[in-house]
Symmetry: C2
Subunit: 413 residues, 2 copies
Amino acid sequence: MNAFQEMNSPLRTIMTPGPVEVDPRVLRAMSTPILGQFDPAFTNMMNETMEMLRQVFQTKNQWAFPIDGTSRAGIEAVLTSVIKPGDKVLIPIYGRFGHLLTEIAERNGAEIHNIECEWGEVFDQDVIIAEMERIKPKVLAIVHGETSTGCMQPLDRIGPACRERDVLCIVDAVATIGGTEVKVDEWKLDAVIGGTQKCLSVPSGMAPITYNDRIEKVVNARKKVERGISTESDRIDVREPIRSNYFDLSQLQDYWGPRRLNHHTEATSMLYALREGVRIVLQEGLKERFERHRFHEEALVEGIKAMGLELFNDVSWKLPMVTCIKIPEGVDGESVRTMLLQQFGIEIASSFGPLHGKIWRIGTMGYSCRKENILFVLAALEAVLIRHKAQVKTGQALQAALNIYETTNLVMN
Amino acid sequence: MNAFQEMNSPLRTIMTPGPVEVDPRVLRAMSTPILGQFDPAFTNMMNETMEMLRQVFQTKNQWAFPIDGTSRAGIEAVLTSVIKPGDKVLIPIYGRFGHLLTEIAERNGAEIHNIECEWGEVFDQDVIIAEMERIKPKVLAIVHGETSTGCMQPLDRIGPACRERDVLCIVDAVATIGGTEVKVDEWKLDAVIGGTQKCLSVPSGMAPITYNDRIEKVVNARKKVERGISTESDRIDVREPIRSNYFDLSQLQDYWGPRRLNHHTEATSMLYALREGVRIVLQEGLKERFERHRFHEEALVEGIKAMGLELFNDVSWKLPMVTCIKIPEGVDGESVRTMLLQQFGIEIASSFGPLHGKIWRIGTMGYSCRKENILFVLAALEAVLIRHKAQVKTGQALQAALNIYETTNLVMN
């Protein structure tokens, strides 16, 4: 009756902008037998994870914990808990994930104000600040690293400008957390959502978030404890309560905080994975980890250029962990990706919307961001492009990458 | 700087109504290196998991897939996708989780109609049918197995009564799926939500759901594809779209179906866990698995009674995988639980609301439902009760349980 066999998964070299290869230590942590959610040994791990997340987010915020869902669950939890119907929300769009922020805010009944720039560009911070001045939104929601275009939006002046104007600054740092600087406190970001399946090298399924007391105040004003477990001191009648139970940050605080009020059953094994993932990040050191990402990015970029290919995002605002390559004229991009997967077991990505069919995206994130992987993807891409009769300079890519690897003093894998 | 060490978790005997011990084969599956979400090897596993879920739900429904979140994420996905503001929803409450259904429906703007019975009772199906006749709701939402009270609501006549009246019947089977019959098609249930962390013995973090074309029709009428990835044929202007992006079943169908339209990044390792979990369930056989749950329940119940303790749910509607024990007069229930954990490494549960401090709940679910665990919890409970100066008949509990184990012809662990 049941014809399905035990899992027998091929082993891949994953060079997409996520999900990427999981650190073997994280995989091992996931196979640990579980604990009950209120077992002191487990709540202690929850607390440890919060503390380590604060360090990764470079914040002193009290609240730093994961939402039990994929990255967009983290985004939705923050936006749904903060935005009331009719609230003005300003969302600059420079790629797919700005549309996602818009979509989620829209479903929460926000009055949306978008500004858009071409995919491949980012905004001059002054443009965003001027628009904020004009719209006077309650919330500015913006993507830090747009994996769809391989671009990174500077935020160091946007955060402080929001603070001055009492605008809540909510940032999607799913792609950047753990791979490059995300200075939550220094940049005065009010809420930040990270991703696990990218530079943290933890499987998808949790979304670490952090937020400060400015967000907490908004959330607490909408707080409503579940009737099945509320006590008399809990207010039941709340105006404009948060529309979601699952994503209700006020309830999640009671679960992650000292009250330990039952909400969902924490996703135990994913928490183990996240705990181990952030532990590894801190063990490596944030500065060292960011340098490692930059280092391998350079080797990849030099290799790509030496092959005679053109980068789509060869700009000062390039996202360090995503390298976008223009698909050469006359080459079928999907056919190249298929051959890479079928012959080499290597996965690279295409893109979305206006860039679909125009660029390939190679991710160099977390555990995937290793010398062997960079060298292998360069070798494979060259071979596959030759098979596709593309004009490439042969034999140059690996030499260029090895020039980086052999001449550096950095001891990096 | 980073003082946190590698995980070093104690090993527990988990006898709560969830989360319970995870099958070692599932833990092993979770440590498999991951695949990209559109890797054919991975989408094939997604399809296999859907097919196995159909078998576990005993349904021919096209849609049977997990929501990436804990059980209540599954409940919220179904209710949020189906309920529009102002829709009439009838929710019978006989424990904590009926309140949760109410809470979620309420946050979606439903016009709620509750009927309640005392915790420890269930409803005569005719009472619910009569109320449905009176209210004429769009949706009936009801819990199948209430872990808070250890009671199970019969549904075999409620489902058909809903169908006759064109009411959508949505069932929370989080506690029962994989542990006792949940006959989705035979009982004419329109949408059913299961849980992983109970009788499936998979960690919390995914919620398998299934629903039929009656639900799909409602969901599709509200369908709205994300702007960042929509094509011209996708409608953008939809009246009363689903309020959540993450829980939008119409979008999830496009991701789990042949269109494979990008939504979230599937929680890879949790999917591996779920695939292995349901594979093991089908390998054991549904009938055999349900019998095993009944068999160990009997041994536990006989042991508890032989000790002289009284069951709270010694009724024909007892939930087979949750045994509720009245805390003896003068005994501090929490102190007993603490000693069980600290001295024996055994976790049992307390309860909520009106039953808080009045009962203990022992779960016998999935991989935790094993002979050694039953015998160990009986031995430990007796010893701890003696330490708490409770009146117990000593030396009888294990004898009663062994009488079951030694005289049966069933070859069961």
